[in-house]
């Protein structure tokens, strides 16, 4: 059976050219970058070349890129590293309710360590309001972290406006740009952020490589202690093949960014336009300020998990809620924060498209998905409603 992969926010397949660039560093170029002989210097040069390419993708200086193992490490590093470095100036941190677990759980760790954390509310479309940021700031605030784009509902946040508010008070701003970097233009100078997290596998690079942009001159306490890798800020022998792959993927993403966006948006819009015509199907997140290949819905009276199973039986692979919480049998905190009623939030489903998807793939999805909904409605004990009839009120697109 043909397989239809619509879960690119979970991960992307590795681009063949990226794999090719990585291969020598699995084989003959196996040196440790810290070694002073030829094997070492070749590996070291390869890392520095990758650093230049990643820097070019986000318009930073190469020295401002610290390689990490993944986006979650970059997020942990940013929150804990800045909180600890600035704790003598204040112990208040602001994060939004749109954040990934790697931000939220880092914030909770800091709370246990004596920091005070404000969790910013969001509106129905998942937007963080710059005004809410302004109101949350206290004299103790040392860091604000707001995601650039949500992998769960696709909404792209008004980050520039949020940074503007933060900078009036000279507060450091971090953004989790894992879902956006390589998918839409990300420019650290234009955004004005001080720290920004990236993951390679979100733009056809390998797993095992991420990066944290740290603006020049910023102090950050390391997360991993040891040697002088990454200028003494992130110890441990580097994952050279993955870093090389990240560099190659970044170079390709920079060159192809517009083409990729132009390819994905029409496919995305076709799904949105067609499926919102279905009864009791609501788009989550914003329609316009949205990741190019991202479609997310809440389907009333049906469980997301059930949809995933039936779709998988048809060869369609997608996600429910955030990619990693589909196994945690509870409603997504992001959807709840957006005011989606708990019952409706159970019926969340995310289709995220990539360059491997074709128009024919979309035809197949648009044929099969309504059938899956109908089938599940037939057997749903809630098909007549939840009783309180609160579904849909808080969603963005209502028929």
């Amino acid at each position: 059976m043909k397989k239809y992969y619509f879960d690119h926010v979970a991960t992307n397949p590795l681009h063949p050219d990226v794999l090719e660039a990585m291969m020598p560093y699995f084989k003959e170029e196996f040196g440790n970058p810290l070694s002073i002989y030829e094997y070492g210097s070749k590996a070291k040069n390869a890392i520095e070349e990758a650093r230049e390419k990643v820097a070019a993708l986000i318009n930073s200086k190469p020295a401002e890129i610290i390689f990490t193992a993944n986006g979650a490490e970059a997020n942990n590093f940013a929150l804990r590293g800045i909180a600890l470095a600035k704790q003598n100036e204040g112990k208040h941190i602001i994060v939004s309710r749109m954040e990934h677990h790697s931000i939220l759980n880092s914030a909770r760790f800091l709370e246990k360590s004596g920091f005070v954390v404000t969790y910013l509310p969001v509106d129905k479309k998942g937007f963080v309001s710059p005004d809410a940021v302004r109101k949350a700031i206290t004299k103790e605030t040392v860091l604000i972290s707001v995601t650039h784009g949500s992998s769960e509902v696709g909404t792209i946040e008004p980050l520039k406006e949020i940074v503007k508010v933060a900078k009036e008070k000279k507060i450091i701003v971090h953004t989790d740009a894992v879902a956006t970097t390589g998918n839409i233009p990300v420019d650290v100078k234009d955004l004005g952020v001080d720290l920004l997290s990236i993951a390679a596998h979100q733009f056809y690079g390998p797993k095992g490589a991420g990066a944290l942009y740290v603006k020049q001159g910023m102090r950050i306490v390391p997360l991993i202690y040891g040697g002088i890798q990454e200028s003494g800020r992130r110890a441990g022998t580097e994952n050279v093949p993955a870093i090389v792959g990240m560099g190659k993927a970044a170079e390709m993403a920079k060159a192809e960014l517009q083409m990729r966006m132009d390819y994905l948006k029409p496919l995305r819009d076709r799904i949105i336009n067609t499926l919102t015509e279905e009864k009791n199907v609501f788009l989550t997140g914003d329609r316009e300020n949205r990741l190019p290949g991202h479609v997310s819905f809440c389907v009333e009276f049906i469980e997301g998990e059930a949809m995933l199973l039936l779709l998988a039986a048809k060869g369609i692979f997608s996600a429910s809620g955030s990619a990693c919480s589909s196994k945690a049998l509870k409603a997504s905190p992001v959807l709840l924060a957006m005011g989606v009623p708990a019952g409706l939030a159970q019926g969340s489903i995310v289709f995220s498209l990539g360059m491997g998807n074709t128009s024919e793939d979309i035809d197949y999805l648009l044929k099969e998905f309504p059938a899956v909904i109908s089938r599940l409605r037939e057997i749903s004990p809630f098909a007549q409603g939840w009783g309180d009839k609160d579904g849909g009120e808080s969603c963005t697109v209502k028929k």
Partner: protein, 83 residues
């Protein structure tokens, strides 16, 4: 240890929170850039630097002017005297 106040450095290097031995690598790198007689300031929180930096100065023939302590980190002042 020699303590100093109000030294006016020509170049400042901030390596607070960076791991050992960045204090020696940066010191060497920065000193190469300096002209004879210029003063380098190194900020670090690494207490190993208390021994290492004066020892490095002695070994390389540069003048260790002294240090200043703040709440969070140390400031070391080194005058380039070696050629």
């Amino acid at each position: 240890m020699k303590f100093v106040e109000n030294v006016k450095p020509d170049v400042t290097t901030d390596i607070v929170y960076m791991m050992c031995p960045m204090h020696l690598l940066k010191l060497e790198e920065q000193m190469k850039e300096l002209d004879q007689g210029q003063i380098l300031e190194i900020m670090t929180d690494y207490d190993g630097a208390l021994e290492d930096i004066p020892a490095w100065c002695e070994k390389t023939g540069n003048e260790f002017l002294g240090m200043e302590e703040t709440d969070d980190f140390f400031k070391f002042y080194i005058k380039k005297t070696a050629r």
